[in-house]
Symmetry: C2
Subunit: 387 residues, 2 copies
């Protein structure tokens, strides 16, 4: 981790990732199997990093439910029930990395950025990158579509997350400047809304969940409006109030995505879509450049040695499918001497995050056990290093 002058909250130490008791529990285990069991079923405090209930279910800890973030707003009594439902969705803890795998689910959940064909570009969508480029504060419309809508209430959660796995666990939050109460973006804005990087001005029932002061991931949840007969399309407008390039503790030029999840009253996930996002001053220019670059990379143009490596977001869900990598399912034996305990500690911390991230992506899949095993190995080394 570089120590740049502004980078004072850039990465969370492991001690922030877990409450203290849990950490001790985790690290006092010796065998990897015990750790596996712990992770799957018996983590103290009922907080679970990875669930054991199939591919599409989150388990939330009711005890860390955040009352502050769920202030009463002015509501129709008509909608009280749905809002009550929304309240029951607790904030996601920062350390839980959300899957960014696409999942259409039982209702054929679809999310699409409304294309923009005007000459002036407050925002642009690139299909090949699955990415929207927009200016800060500019509103952009998104359509949500689903089929076979059930009688019960459904919710849509919008969560920004860093695309790169090594910082996906860090909550996306606003920079100091734009979070300032005097900033023009914050006039008349509720205090718990202020800290959110993305807003949904079109939906007055939107709940702004989470509190970054408590190291919680920030997200928006709103109830899907009761469907008119035959209508299955809901349009909402979103707005980023920080740039991708905002300084720490802002996004700091890191690739960012928005994860849209369709959820039921219990937070069970019924669909997931993912959208890469860049908030910048020149959306058109930057889109063109990224597309050109992506094309170049596709055309097998060998990456020039000197060029600085761009932090590439995951290739997303476009036509371009990831080639199944043959080596992704193999074990590799490491035999090496490495100098410097501090280096080792850093490396192991990184490795641990990597496996947490991969686990998030491979829940319920055959490789999950192998990943857990590797995670345990890493944690064992960490434990030995700390003695």
């Amino acid at each position: 981790m570089s120590q740049r002058s502004h980078d004072f909250t850039a990465s969370l130490p492991l001690s922030d990732l877990f409450p203290e008791e849990i950490q001790q529990e985790l690290f006092s285990q010796v065998g990897s199997q015990e750790i596996n069991d712990l992770l799957v079923g018996e983590m103290p405090g009922n907080l679970m990093m990875v669930d054991g209930y199939g591919n599409e279910i989150y388990n939330h800890n009711e005890l860390i439910h955040d009352e502050n973030s769920l202030k009463t707003e002015d509501l129709d009594s008509k909608n009280d029930f749905m809002v009550q439902m929304a309240r029951q969705l607790p904030p996601l803890p920062t350390n839980e990395v959300l899957s960014n795998e696409e999942y259409v689910g039982p209702h054929d959940f679809e999310v699409s950025v409304v294309p923009n064909h005007k000459s002036k570009y407050p925002w642009v969508y690139s299909g090949i990158l699955n990415k929207v480029f927009m200016k800060m504060n500019q509103q952009f419309p998104v359509d949500f579509k689903l089929k076979n809508r059930p009688d019960r209430s459904l919710f849509i959660r919008i969560t920004p997350q860093y695309s790169a796995h090594h910082n996906a666990n860090e909550a996306v939050c606003r920079c100091i400047q734009h979070n300032h109460h005097n900033d023009p973006t914050n006039i008349g804005i509720d205090d718990n809304v202020k800290q959110h990087v993305i807003r949904c001005p079109s939906n007055k029932q939107a709940q702004y969940v989470g509190d970054s002061n408590q190291n919680q991931r920030l997200s928006i949840v709103f109830p899907l409006s009761t469907p008119q007969v035959g209508i299955e399309n809901v349009r909402e407008t979103f707005q980023f109030v920080c740039k991708s390039s905002c300084p720490a503790p802002g996004m700091q030029r890191r690739a960012t995505e928005v994860i849209f999840t369709l959820e039921d009253e219990l937070g069970r996930i019924l669909g997931r879509k993912c959208l890469q996002v860049r908030v910048c001053s020149c959306p058109k220019r930057d889109k063109d450049k990224e597309e050109t670059e992506a094309q170049k990379a596709n055309n097998g143009t060998a990456p020039r040695g000197k060029k600085r490596k761009v932090e590439h977001p995951p290739p997303a869900s476009s036509a371009k499918v990831l080639m199944p990598q043959p080596d992704a399912s193999r074990f590799f034996q490491l035999n090496m001497q490495l100098f410097g305990k501090n280096c080792l500690v850093d490396i192991m911390n990184f490795a641990e995050k990597t496996y947490y991230y991969e686990l998030g992506l491979h829940r319920g899949m055959p490789e999950e056990a192998a990943l857990r095993d590797s995670l345990a190995k890493v944690q064992e080394v960490k434990k030995q290093l700390s003695q």
Copy 2:
């Protein structure tokens, strides 16, 4: 004035430049002569934009003396007297533009940036530009030299000011991010020091004067240490804690200078030196570029049509002397129709600032009367526009 999203305090409306009563006094006058008199001698509240007591004297209004900025610090009783002296120097009001004319005075006041010959450049000085380039937070040493030192106490005041005349009246202050109490630059820093863009960590007796919340210009004053026999050289270390490129209300890439004044107990100016400053991430690169550019401009290379105009700082006090412009002392008759009241208002506001600035530079000189006349004309037009 452009309306960029961050630019929420970029330029002060005229109403901020004067207390309300003074404004009304000013604008209710009709003849230009009366306004002249007002400015010279009888401004209500004893606040004077331009003094009438010769070239080198400031007149401060005791009534706006700021108690907050003069908190007691932990001091030797030895130095109590000198600190008392420093306290008697009231903060300069924001609207008063400081002269940036060099004046060696009766003590041959000299200020020099200690040259840096190391391979690594935390700061670099360009003689031809009379400008230091440095990184934020880096300390750079400055030598103060004077001859024939008197028995009484002397003080040095350090005031940052924008170099361009059209924003020289705006106080130089810190951006929101770096002024935040959690910013690494502010740990253990006294609250009234925090808002200052330039600090003097080497001198514990330095008083941080002024409060930008009250629209006062910020400066540092410290007593010149009692001279050792035969020694006439004092070295102090300074540090900028914002970059030249910091966003509003910071310096916003504007050219900035530091004005060093040698003052007696009553604030009478006994010497003045001026130093252009640029706080950036690549001091060496930027110095080289600016020097190249300056040389090019000197070589008569006609400015290329397409190139964006760079906001040039005044040529400073180097060998390169300003050619006396023949037209500087003539009147010009304007006869034109201009469209748009708002445009006119903007233009007149700008013209007014221009004349205030010029007056600051030409106090006591023959052209002063003509400048006052023009100022009055502009203010008359402004008054008519506001009816």
